[in-house]
């Protein structure tokens, strides 16, 4: 069925290693099949022939020893140490190796792409997926500079996180299942970024959501974890609904759903018209779900219930950035819809600031990073919203480096904390920063690497995050002065005003980012240790299989900015990423930036903005260092509840509670009491169905009275009937 449709005019990559692009997702899929098979095979105890017979007291008590152990995740419980899974050896080989192979292949394809000049994407349609009349959807792959970049990030960071997982999860009884899910995730993520049309992208889009669901609820025996997984899936589905509607609008109006076709037809849409605006807004609803933006961000903090490497890979580096990818991928649409783009940027800016304020008061180290991720995703949407598509994607890449590092580093910390508590049998919270402190002494490598990542995310030059965040804020400021967005208006307020406001949000969020990240580092690694006197002796650095990947990510966090240096900071090649992505997003960027009314563009602006950004970052760190007193902290179990606004922040503005009260509970109550009990059981079934049957029974009773057998009565009824009929006929 692999009917390769060779393009009429040969693409420069035809016949090159790029023809193997289909193998990129297939490799992790093979890993999934192997690990999934091992997982099922090793967990299964085939039941007796007659299930009813095997049930009860006479079942052998030892049949469930292995699956019983499933419950006690390495980090989920404090029971006795469990031995590594009996197939851990094979799984540890297969899981990371398929990823590494995929990365190597990706790098080879990348090299081939660098060797040719490639203005159009390399498209291969392998088979027809949904052919229905005018709707022709193929299982197709599109390789271009944007998807290549994403593939490198996914397989590269993915490989590191798989390796880290070998150490982190090695004692978990669900080890093969874990790697099966992780491999499957990478498969779907690669489908997402390689799909040649929206429906195929959507396969990956929902597929990664599935894996996220499975991995958040990996330790499913805790209700909270299972709840978190379900919440993630359902909230994502709300977004997916928007994505679906966007596809329906595209098909109904353009008639195609593949990127090349939509891109070709897009200029025919009215600029700023209702249609393209609606398409973009519905699509962005999908992005808000997947990438945790207001109002759908609520699932991501809960998603921290999953194993920490999962948080690093799925809930920081790759999946949650899919929304940013989708906007960049659809830049040919968003650049035609200035109002929708303003909404994207505004939601992004609001989310960046809002999530950062919550991050200020979280005690769980992973929750800090979760809100930080929500906030940083907001930045990316500011970037792609203001039509600085490269800047948004640039931040996506650097964020993948430093946030993966932060999560994995926190994983090492939790690993150490958990091991320490495990030794003493304590039930303290291994993720609460109030139980940490002074860990620098015990885990110097992790400490150093996490500081590198912290400086990167805080925006201190020359670390990676500085350049990417600065290019977003710079672009926002610039667009406020001169762009199609500045000319548009939203809610009656000119776009220019909105953009300056978004810039202010961005700067404010940068200040808060520096504060909460420094706070996290101080409470975790500095000051006195609060873990406990007995536990201290068991705190130690993670093994090399875990710190190794951290080192690589550390290097990337430091030097990642060199991917796209601005002209103002000529310390290396300028604008590499700009040039690389130009064939994909260049036209759209120009459409936003170079049209619209001309305003004065201050040449000194750029330098001024950099100065402001750096000053803000340093100020934030200084505030954290001077105001926070780690010495005064006490263990989590002894800490009092926060008061006043701090309490509101600690409870995340009570948004979850509000959603429960306004959406979840009413839906449940109405469904149960009105629709089911009232309409279904009461009205339809009770009154109409059973009521009419009761009526029939009533008639039957009357009938049985009438059939008395007295011929006289019959005759009398007959006469009355005939008279009635005759009367009716004559009177007509």
């Amino acid at each position: 069925m692999m009917l390769l449709q060779i393009a009429a005019n040969a693409h420069p990559l035809t016949g090159s290693v790029a023809e193997w692009v289909w193998l990129l997702p297939i490799l992790p899929f093979i890993g999934f099949l192997i690990n999934g098979g091992i997982s099922l095979f090793s967990a299964a105890h085939i039941g007796p022939d007659d299930p009813d017979m095997g049930h009860g007291n006479d079942s052998p008590p030892d049949t469930h020893s292995v699956s019983d152990a499933e419950e006690h995740g390495a980090l989920g419980d404090d029971h006795d140490a469990v031995k590594p899974h009996r197939y851990a050896g094979i799984v540890s080989m297969v899981g990371p190796l398929v990823l590494a192979a995929s990365f190597i292949l990706a790098f080879m394809i990348f090299s081939a792409m660098r060797g040719v000049s490639m203005e159009t994407p390399f498209i291969r349609n392998y088979f027809s997926w949904m052919p229905v009349g005018s709707l022709q959807i193929d299982a197709g792959i599109q390789l271009d500079q944007l998807s290549m970049l994403m593939v490198l990030v996914i397989t590269g960071v993915g490989t590191l996180i798989h390796i880290f997982s070998v150490g982190y999860m090695k004692e978990d009884p669900g080890y093969p299942r874990y790697f099966a899910y992780l491999n499957l995730f990478v498969f779907f993520m690669l489908v997402l970024v390689l799909g040649a049309n929206y429906p195929v992208l959507f396969v990956g889009w929902e597929g990664v959501g599935l894996c996220s669901y499975l991995l958040i609820g990996f330790w499913f025996s805790e209700k909270a974890n299972a709840d978190a997984g379900k919440k993630a899936f359902i909230v994502n589905r709300i977004g997916d609904f928007g994505f679906l509607i966007a596809m329906f609008l595209l098909f109904s109006n353009i008639g195609v759903l593949d990127f090349a076709g939509v891109k070709a037809a897009a200029p025919g849409l009215a600029f700023g018209g209702a249609l393209v605006t609606a398409i973009c807004l519905f699509m962005f609803l999908g992005c808000a779900g997947k990438s945790a933006q207001i109002p759908l961000y609520i699932w991501l903090p809960d998603a921290m219930a999953g194993p920490t490497p999962v948080s690093a890979l799925i809930h920081a580096a790759t999946m949650v950035t899919a929304g940013v990818y989708l906007v960049a991928r659809s830049s040919f649409l968003f650049s035609l819809a200035p109002v929708a783009s303003l909404v994207v940027a505004l939601i992004g800016g609001l989310t960046a600031l809002f999530a950062a304020t919550i991050g200020l008061k979280q005690w769980d180290i992973k929750k800090v990073l979760a809100y930080s991720t929500v906030s940083q995703l907001g930045y990316m949407f500011v970037g792609v919203g203001v039509g600085a598509y490269t800047a948004g994607v640039f931040h996506l890449v650097t964020h993948a480096f430093f946030k993966a590092l932060l999560f994995l580093g926190s994983g090492s910390v939790i690993y150490a904390m958990h091991a320490a508590y495990h030794h003493t049998g304590s039930h303290e919270d291994a993720q609460d920063m109030r139980n940490m402190g002074g860990l620098k002494k015990y885990m110097p490598t992790t400490w150093l690497l996490m500081w590198a990542a912290t400086l990167a995310i805080a925006g201190i030059p020359p670390f990676a995050g500085f350049f990417s965040k600065d290019s977003i804020l710079g672009a926002t400021f610039e667009r406020a002065g001169h762009s199609t967005l500045a000319d548009a208006s939203l809610l009656g307020i000119p776009g220019s005003t909105w953009l300056y406001l978004i810039y202010v949000f961005g700067v404010a969020a940068a200040l808060l980012t520096a504060i909460y990240m420094t706070r996290m580092m101080i409470y975790t690694f500095h000051g006195p240790n609060r873990t406990g006197d007995q536990e201290q002796s068991h705190l130690h650095e993670a093994p090399w299989v875990m710190t190794g990947p951290l080192v690589v990510l550390g290097i990337l966090s430091v030097f990642g900015g060199w991917l796209n240096l601005p002209e103002t900071v000529p310390i290396g090649p300028i604008g590499s990423l700009d040039r690389w992505l130009d064939p994909v997003v260049g036209d759209a960027t120009k459409r936003v930036a170079e049209a619209g009314s001309e305003m004065s563009k201050g040449a000194s602006n750029e330098l001024m903005l950099i100065v402001i950004a750096v000053a803000v970052a340093i100020a934030g760190m200084a505030i954290a260092f001077t105001r926070l007193k780690p010495q005064s902290l006490v263990k989590a179990s002894e800490s009092p509840e926060e008061e006043g606004f701090e309490r509101v922040l600690a409870h995340k503005y009570y948004v979850d509670e509000a959603y429960d009260a306004v959406v979840v509970n009413p839906t449940y109550q109405i469904s149960r009491n009105v629709l089911w009990r009232g309409i279904d059981a009461g009205l339809i079934d009770g009154l109409l169905v059973n009521g009419s049957s009761a009526l029939v029974r009533g008639f039957g009773w009357v009938g049985s009275r009438i059939q008395s057998g007295a011929v006289g009565t019959y005759a009398w009824v007959l006469v009355v009937g005939v008279l009635a009929v005759l009367g009716a006929v004559t009177l007509r």
């Binding site: 997926w129 229905v132 709707l135 299982a139 396969v203 209700k223 109904s252 629709l675």
Partner: protein, 529 residues
């Protein structure tokens, strides 16, 4: 393969053979059953039943290859006298739609036998004999090209199911079986009257003519009459689908029926309703069905069904009832797709008809398996059992995902096509219907969480045995089809497309010609004013 089938004259005998094989099987089983029911003869009955249904499936499988997608007419058609005095003929034939319904039926039945292997312990011979009669009836509905023959087959289905629920069902089996029987019988009688009217009308005084082809080719009904006749057909089919608000027989019948009964009900018998709309109600009365008011009412009911079914499913404490209400939701998508009347929406509706058969059938089988172990369908009597029964958990999760339409599984293809096809004629309704994907995730994920995940807090659940090889084996075909139809549905779509296209154009054309023929009258009436 095609050459081989041609050499054995396959097309000439396959349809009658498919009707007769189960009848022979039923007769044989009842004969054996007369000798007295022992454990060994029950086992024999199961093996015979499985062999008969497997043979049935293998015979029908040839249709996949012998069917020529390029030909939009009847395939494997036969025509012979039956009751010449009343103009009733024994005419059979299939199009692409019937092809897939027949294959779905013959695919499900042997798996149903495997699923009933240990759960049916009494009157095993009779049970499987009834299943066979039922199968003949269902297949006959899909094949009949004579309206009277169709009606006979339609009623043949009803009786065995009545007994299956009433004899082998749960505690409230009598209530459920009588409710099922009367609920579906009453509107069927209306349809019978309509069929008789059609046949006599077509015979115009002479011998009645129940030929489907004749009725399609020569529409001579006055619009008002057509509307009444459509109403009669609508009643019979809408109850069967079931459309909101005619659905309340379904939860009771599903819950009380034995596993295989639930599977057949959900997987195949519900499709009789939607198949009836596709084959009869719309092509025979295009003007009435496409009457703007009628169409608006039906589409509204379909969309209400999607949302209502999902919401009510969400709050069910009984897993079987939950799946029953989810059927109301899924079949709402089918009805929306049929009445949106675009090629995509109709193809999507057909895909959902297949997919719902596969996914809901598999769900009921899985529920049956766990029920055999625990004797409870209450969701809250489980919890955390994924640890104890990992294979069951993996299968239930996968099947649930297909039911909620995860892309890459079969469920997505149908829903996507229905919605994308309905969006142009009905943008608002399709948008509302699309929220169904959210609720579907809510009710099924919440249910499987409460069954499979959460703490394993009930002592009795700690030693539930996992699936045995028979059960795993019978689920494998389902899993294969779920993935196949999700990833590569094109062969199925291609086989159905000419029939779907023919349906769309003929109904559109018929509806237009009805309005066109009425147009002069309206013009004259207006001129008089």
């Amino acid at each position: 393969m095609q050459a081989f089938l041609q050499s054995i004259g396959y097309d000439a005998w396959v349809l009658p053979a498919l009707l007769i094989i189960p009848v022979i099987g039923a007769v044989a089983l009842i004969g054996i059953g007369q000798a007295g029911a022992s454990e060994s003869s029950s086992k024999q009955a199961r093996i015979i039943a499985f062999a008969v249904f497997l043979a049935e499936f293998l015979v029908s499988a040839g249709l996949w290859w012998s069917f020529d997608p390029a030909n939009a007419g009847w395939h494997a058609a036969i025509d012979s006298d039956w009751i010449p005095m009343w103009g009733i003929r024994f005419t059979l034939g299939i199009d692409g739609i019937a092809l897939m319904m027949i294959l779905l039926t013959t695919f499900i039945m042997p798996l149903c036998v495997l699923g009933s292997w240990t759960s049916i312990k009494t009157k095993v011979h009779t049970y499987f004999a009834l299943m066979m009669i039922l199968t003949s009836g269902m297949l006959g509905v899909f094949m009949a090209r004579d309206l009277f023959l169709f009606y006979v087959m339609w009623e043949v289905m009803l009786v065995p199911m009545y007994f299956i629920i009433g004899i082998w069902g749960g505690e409230r089996r009598l209530y459920a079986s009588i409710k099922f029987f009367i609920y579906t019988m009453l509107p069927s009688l209306l349809m019978l009257v309509a069929i008789l009217y059609l046949g006599i009308h077509a015979g115009s005084g002479g011998t009645p003519n129940f030929s489907y082809d004749n009725l399609i080719a020569h529409p001579t009904l006055a619009p008002k009459v057509a509307l009444w006749l459509f109403g009669a057909f609508f009643a019979a089919f809408a109850v069967k689908v079931p459309m909101f608000p005619f659905h309340t027989w379904l939860p009771d019948a599903h819950v009380e029926a034995p596993t295989a009964g639930s599977v057949v009900l959900a997987a195949i018998m519900l499709k009789m309703g939607t198949f009836g709309f596709l084959r009869f109600a719309l092509p025979l009365f295009p003007g009435a069905a496409m009457n703007p008011t009628v169409r608006a009412i039906i589409v509204t009911l379909a969309v209400i069904g999607i949302i209502y079914g999902a919401l009510v499913a969400m709050v069910q404490p009984d897993f079987k009832k939950l799946v029953a209400y989810s059927s109301v939701s899924h079949l709402g998508f089918v009805m929306l797709g049929i009445f949106a009347l675009t090629l995509q929406s109709v193809q999507g509706a057909l895909m959902i008809m297949i997919n719902h058969g596969i996914s809901t059938g598999a769900l009921f089988l899985l529920i049956g398996m766990i029920y055999e172990r625990k004797h409870s369908r209450a969701i809250d009597s489980y919890g955390g059992i994924a640890r104890v029964v990992p294979v069951f958990a993996a299968l239930l999760t996968l099947v649930s995902l297909s039911s909620i339409g995860l892309p890459g599984t079969n469920g997505f293809v149908g829903e996507f096509l229905v919605l994308i096809g309905s969006f142009k004629p009905y943008p608002v309704f399709s948008t509302i219907a699309a929220t169904g994907v959210i609720f579907a995730a809510a009710y099924l994920l919440w249910a499987i969480q409460r069954i499979l995940f959460n703490p394993l807090d009930k002592k009795a659940n700690e030693h539930i045995p996992d699936l045995n090889w028979r059960e795993i084996g019978l689920m494998v075909p389902f899993i294969i089809v779920i993935i196949w139809l999700g990833v590569y549905p094109a062969p199925v779509l291609r086989r159905m497309e000419p029939s779907a296209q023919k349906f769309v154009t003929s109904v559109q054309h018929g509806a237009q010609s009805v309005t066109a023929s009425r147009a002069p009258i309206v013009a004259i009436a207006e001129a008089r004013r």
